[in-house]
Symmetry: D2
């Protein structure tokens, strides 16, 4: 899974003939062996083309630079937005949490079971409740209190902790809103989770609203945070059934279960370079 | 399933001690044998109590009146809203449709397979496209054109067809909005189906909006029509997965599948007297 | 949830008229208020009748004995197999585990989140790997090595730990087979989890077999242990999708997820007295 | 969907470097534009490689022969098992049925709704019950009685109807077993559906067995028929939930629903050239 020879090439570019041929020819000449490959085009006539190639290149550490040089003219010719990721270089990530532990625990658990491969550099929280839990996993825990008046100061402290240190921030039920300027520093690199309902409920206490409307499904949506709250590109969604026997507390409990499953899937896919963003949506090569 | 001895007793009333004892004692004395029983209370201290009892009473046709008389004082004592339904008396229903056939066909099919037990008295449509299909099932088809200017006249004609003739109206993708005055004549007896998305999309062409937002789930909601459009008590909901490979046409096709499944389940539960409404929500003893 | 007034009455008996009337009349006279009630009969004519009534009785601790005395003649008259369980009296349980932690962790987590209400008295393992994890939760951990030659001795030690101390034993991926004589001491009180596939695969390494057959679903089944291995009454089952991209390791990982979800649901239902057994099957009033 | 320019190239071959490069280079030179592409390898070191490329080639009818000639040396070099399918050339298929109509109807319906694109050349049945239904869709219906004594004669008559006329045979609950010699004539071109349970039940009336074991899931499996009954490569599987309230008739009804959904998906994928077989399993590029 984290073989030292394994790498992933991600490409988005305007679709036109010859992209696959050029890239696969280049990989072949460099000695790479394609393991998986996924492609998608929004429209063969003038749409956007997406490709994810997972390949093995023996001695990747020493030969990766040469591969990069070989890909550059192709990328330039096809106006590619591209990235080469080495599977063995674990992505450093921070988890932001508040008091609820369900999402955090699911992530820590999958991480320890090696089902989710990352370098969890730290957990940052505006409360101290989860310190013991986090430190038991051997992960640094940073408490940064956030008050309405001193939000800027808190964000500055958070930024100092994470900037340049992590590739990904996961909001594991972190109950504070990050400012647009913070979010702009991590484009498509902050994953958030929120509940979702059919129909949508606006305003306070959506679970109470969902209960009084008698919904039969409770859902959750994982998405990349953008400056528009809860409106960023969707990575994953799922639902669970509920019925009239479930009270508001039950709905919240069931909501927690679906949240932790959906967030864990979304984060894992991101870490495996399976999510490509364009416009306000995602291509997930799961 | 439609045994001549089988009946269903449905009760809603303020919850207080002794309801189950009184009703079950009465049924026992009358010679009824309980087959299924479901109960629910929104709150044991002063909430609303719901009960559905399915029972067999030999010679129901002749002994039903005596049972009704025996239940009346109990109903009065506990301020019950109640109903006694004989399984062998098929509920007459009308299906309203427009041009799309997927929901209509699913209902006709389950009806012919005896999975959905009803007396489908007629199909009413504002178009003639589905006439051949409906008549092949031996069901009367009525075409009532609906124009914006003469909507009142069309509704009057519809009303004349259905009033006193049917217990239930199913809107199987009937693309016209019924007027509040029409809907008020059939309280909790008109079932409608509509698509639903996470998040919700307001305005024209929701499938195009869902596509451009990159949703991962497409859903449908069956509900009782009320004067507030698409905001009546929810009977059933379900979703199907979609991904980036699905174009807008795919989303619509997948939407049709989930619509027909959800509508068929909701209608079947209604026909089996499994749905109780209170406030703007349902108790479904499925 | 664990209100001191809350109790559950579970009944199985030959079905005949008057059971519900007699029981509900008795509860009413004793001052109990029914919160939920579920009934099922395998056949109204001479089948088996099952009932679960959840009720509130103020001052249950002092008035419970009087209720029990009042129920006794009814139970005798209808030949009932019955049980009265107080919600506030947590069921003591032991978890048996080996080296894998996924099922154990899911149970401990739900227990700490108060989603699963029990008194986890101990974890018993034939390995020491999980000691740290268990003790971090403040739960006693007992290591009892099990060798093929000294299995009797190990079981005797296990029995000494649990007999008279626990109501329920959960085999959370405990990889040793318990002897028939051990199992007979805990009828319908040992819950086990195992993988399940469509079709079934007999013999060694079922995941490898499932992989080579190209199955599209991986499942798990939670059941009560009986003397016939993996053939006891089924409590819960579920599946997850897999496809050709999943290798044998992926299938195992996905299998672990479905195992922990299915086992946690089954154990929770058992603890809430929602599972009744008859013959080799269950009635689950979930 | 059935654009005259659209084609699909399917390839299986021993995996080695350069396959994708060679094929995509060739398609590019011939003027084809790749719309979708899926690849899979069972093992980058010496495994089997699978690829499905969907592309548009203007004037495909006249330029297809040239493309084929250009691909031939590549196919030969890499020892490819390959196929070029034109989307506009509808695959002729026969549906074999007996008395049950649920699978047949689901296929006819999707076909008429253009959700399943094929040329349904005929329905062949060993009973006459479904004649009216089939002919209402304008499809030829052939009745060939099958008796135990004259099975050979019946198969000869069936063979005369289908051989050279159809590419695919779908057994839509056809309740007779086809002989090995018949099946060998249509390798990976006969799709069958059967129920499936966790655990598996061998022998007569599996629904009664599933009921008496109290299963919580009812499933169905669509597979290619091979000489070993119900053991061919699996194309698709799914399950539905059941519980103690469902009697044997309910299980059968629910089984019919899951059968028709699973069969329709499997047939549609086959018709869209999305299923590749190797050994006794499938790669489904759904």
């Amino acid at each position: 899974m984290t073989s030292s020879a394994r790498a992933r090439l991600l490409i988005s570019c305007p679709d036109r003939p010859g992209i696959v041929a050029a890239v696969s020819q280049c990989l072949c000449e460099q000695g790479a062996n394609i393991v998986h490959s996924d492609q998608h085009t929004t429209d063969p006539a003038g749409g956007v083309f997406f490709m994810r190639i997972e390949f093995d290149l023996p001695e990747l550490d020493s030969r990766g630079a040469s591969l990069t040089r070989a890909l550059e003219p192709i990328a330039s010719r096809f106006q590619m937005d591209w990235k080469l990721a080495y599977a063995a270089r674990l992505k450093p990530m921070a988890i932001f949490a508040s008091k609820e532990d369900h999402c955090l625990l699911e992530l820590l658990w999958r991480w320890r079971a090696k089902e989710m491969v990352a370098d969890i550099a730290m957990v940052v929280s505006n409360h101290t409740d989860l310190r013991g839990l986090v430190e038991a996993y051997g992960i640094p825990f940073h408490h940064i209190a956030v008050t309405r008046e001193r939000q800027d100061q808190a964000e500055a402290a958070q930024l100092q902790l994470v900037e340049g240190k992590v590739d990904l921030i996961v909001m594991a039920r972190y109950m504070r809103i990050l400012s647009p300027s913070f979010i702009r520093r991590f484009p498509n690199r902050i994953i958030n989770i929120h509940h979702s309902f059919l129909p949508a409920f606006v305003g306070a206490d959506p679970y109470a609203q969902a209960y009084s409307r008698g919904v039969k499904l409770i859902g959750a949506t994982a998405h990349y945070a953008t400056e528009t709250l809860d409106a960023g590109p969707i990575i994953e969604q799922d639902v669970e059934r509920v019925d009239h026997r479930n009270n508001v507390e039950d709905l919240k409990r069931i909501g927690r279960h679906v949240e932790r499953m959906v967030l864990a899937r979304a984060v894992t896919w991101h870490l495996e370079d399976k999510v490509l963003v364009y416009g306000n949506k995602t291509v997930v090569f799961a």
